[in-house]
């Protein structure tokens, strides 16, 4: 094991790189996640956050680097392997089957009673999960194609709660959610942490990050750009690390508005 690895980490990445054609999406990434810990991964658009998520969940194999899970070096060649390790993921593009309905999507690959599906049990459980996330879905028997963006995102999040994961990865889970749903998801993340899971959360919303994360890892142009304890940094510092400059569009906009330009 690498000397820099946190002793209590359940998941550790070392030297992960990934290239797509001529674009180096990730270069030499390190990341540690411990149980009872929420790690926020932040970064600009195209910084490589989702690529990192996809590597952890077996969607893409990394070009180089090692992944250590629960003390063992592992290989995650496909998503089934990630599931087996106990890594559940909510993808940014949700990865739902539009032709299937909400129940079918929720239980995809983990149906109750595989040889004679128990749809009553599945429907009951679906409503439970969705209620809990304050989802405003009128019917769970419509194909996902007919849902609104936020409704879909709720379905994707609900799905990751089935099964019994040790690590949950949320790639911009609240991007399309309403204010109430966002609050519920943040509550959920806190509950997950209390239950001893490791959570990786990707977000562009500094308020959410500051509210629930323990550690913030910043990616910039595919490279590590610092890991902070959330108590030690201000939102401005994080933004500076993300954009690579203290004089950035956000700061300029903020100061302009303070100078009293028309709102």
């Amino acid at each position: 094991m690498s000397p820099t690895q946190q002793p209590d980490a359940v998941l550790s990445l070392r030297g992960i790189s990934k290239t797509f054609g001529a674009v180096a999406a990730l270069t030499d990434i390190e990341l540690d996640v411990a149980p009872h810990q929420v790690v926020a991964v932040v970064g600009d658009n195209g910084a490589g956050k989702s690529t990192l998520v996809k590597i952890l969940s077996g969607v893409h194999p990394p070009d180089s680097g090692t992944i250590t899970f629960a003390g063992r070096e592992v290989d995650i060649p496909n998503p089934a392997a990630a599931h087996k390790l106990g890594i559940a993921t909510v993808f940014q593009d949700l990865a739902l089957c539009e032709n299937l309905n909400v129940i079918q999507n929720l239980f995809l690959g983990q149906e109750i009673r595989p040889l004679r599906l128990n749809d009553v049990a599945m429907e009951t459980r679906s409503w439970e999960l969705l209620r809990q996330l304050s989802a405003k879905i009128p019917s769970v028997r419509v194909p996902v194609a007919a849902l609104s963006g936020g409704q879909r995102q709720t379905v994707a999040i609900a799905r990751s709660l089935l099964g019994d994961p040790e690590i949950i990865i949320l790639d911009e889970p609240t991007a399309a959610l309403g204010v109430a749903q966002t609050a519920e998801v943040l509550n959920l993340v806190e509950r997950l942490r209390e239950n001893g899971l490791g959570v990786i959360m990707i977000s562009h919303n500094m308020a959410d990050v500051k509210a629930v994360a323990d550690k913030v890892a910043v990616l910039r142009l595919g490279r590590n750009n610092g890991v902070f304890d959330v108590g030690d940094v201000s939102a401005e510092d994080i933004i500076a690390a993300i954009t690579g400059a203290t004089d950035n569009a956000v700061a300029r906009r903020a100061s302009r508005r303070q100078e009293g330009l028309p709102s």
Binding site: S57, V59, N78, P79, A80, A82, H83, T89, F91, A95, L96, C97, E98, N99, L100, Q104, F107, L108, G109, Q110, E111, P114, L115, R116, L117, V120, A121, E123, T124, W127, E128, L129, R131, Q132, K136, I137, P138, S139, V140, R141, P143, A145, A146, R159, L161, G163, D164, P165, R191, L192, E194, N195, L197
Partner: protein, 423 residues
Amino acid sequence: MKDTVNSTTDGTTGGTVATDHQDERLQRREGLRGAFTDVVERARGGDLGVIPVVVGLIVIWSVLQILNPIFLSSQNLVNLTMESAAVGVIALGIVCVLLVGQIDLSVGSVSGLSGAVLAVLFVDQGLPAWVAISAAVIIGAAVGWVYAQLFNRFGVPSFVITLAGLLGFLGLQLYVLGTKGAINLPFDSGLVNFAQLAFVPAWLSYTLAVVAAGWLFASGYLHARERRKAGLSSKSTSALVVRSAALLVALLFMVWYLGQTRGVGWMFVFFVALVLVMHYLLSRTRWGRSVYAVGGNVEAARRAGINVRTIYTSVFVLCSSFAAVGGILAAARLAAANQSSGGGDVNLNAIAAAVIGGTSLFGGRGTAFGALLGIIVIQSISSGLTLLNLDSSIRFMVTGAVLLLAVVVDSVSRRSRTSHGRA
């Protein structure tokens, strides 16, 4: 994990309003009336399942009956059922491959090969029928397995793999038949008898009809009770009674009408039984779910942890096996295996049956019943036109026109779908 999630369930389920009917934007419908409104509403919304195909079928049946009054005679309908079975079974396999968004162009050749193998083993080699049949089906399954390997390992488009298969197995069929070219199956063998002369006795047909309707009712009733217990909305018992009674009447009428001449053929019963089994597998098992998921969005299915390769393999194997079974039925029905078995338009008819039955060529949409309805549409057209004494040129044109008519009816009734935003 489960505890976490459950800890905040607020226990409001099971109140007066069913859990799944609590959203205030939903128009509520209950009882028989509600079921009816529901059908009308779904019809307007274009979400009709197989109803449009049935409407199309009724239209062309009427047209053909007007053109020749023998068309709807009992004897002709018996012929129709018997002639549907072989290609129908093949179409059932095609539905499966189309559901995952792939295609199999070689079902015709494989069915021909299977017939040839059957005939050679059974007649030339004098092996028992079950050995010959098993061998033919196993060869079919092996073909599908090879396709799946090529598809999974090399990512060759299934169109090209099965096109190569079409040619290759046609060659193999000719090779197996050897210099003879055609082999007669004995008319008094059980196989030929099954395909030509074995009809279900009247009492058994009626019993089966009653059992089917009773089963529909019983399973529906139990399901509804279970749902009610779980606090979900459920079909009203009266609606269930109406449905079951309708099925009963339809089946009894069919049995009675076909019974006017020869009755319901065992081969047709076999085909319908296969349709029911496939319907169960596709709609009530994890495997079926996975098939639809792979067809809808293969990457999403993969990310959900489904072993996509296994699904492709199972589907290709199933399709080729069904093609082999279809080939056996066709050989039995013809009482011969020859060089042109499985050639001609078997491929196109099987694929067309699946598509007419509502299966999408792009994957993820379709049902086993679609194969049944589709093949009946196709055989109706073909049978209806054999009763008209037409020149080939005219016959081809009329066939095309009637086919189009059937499908336009279907599509028009589905049409509103888009305007209701379910494109």
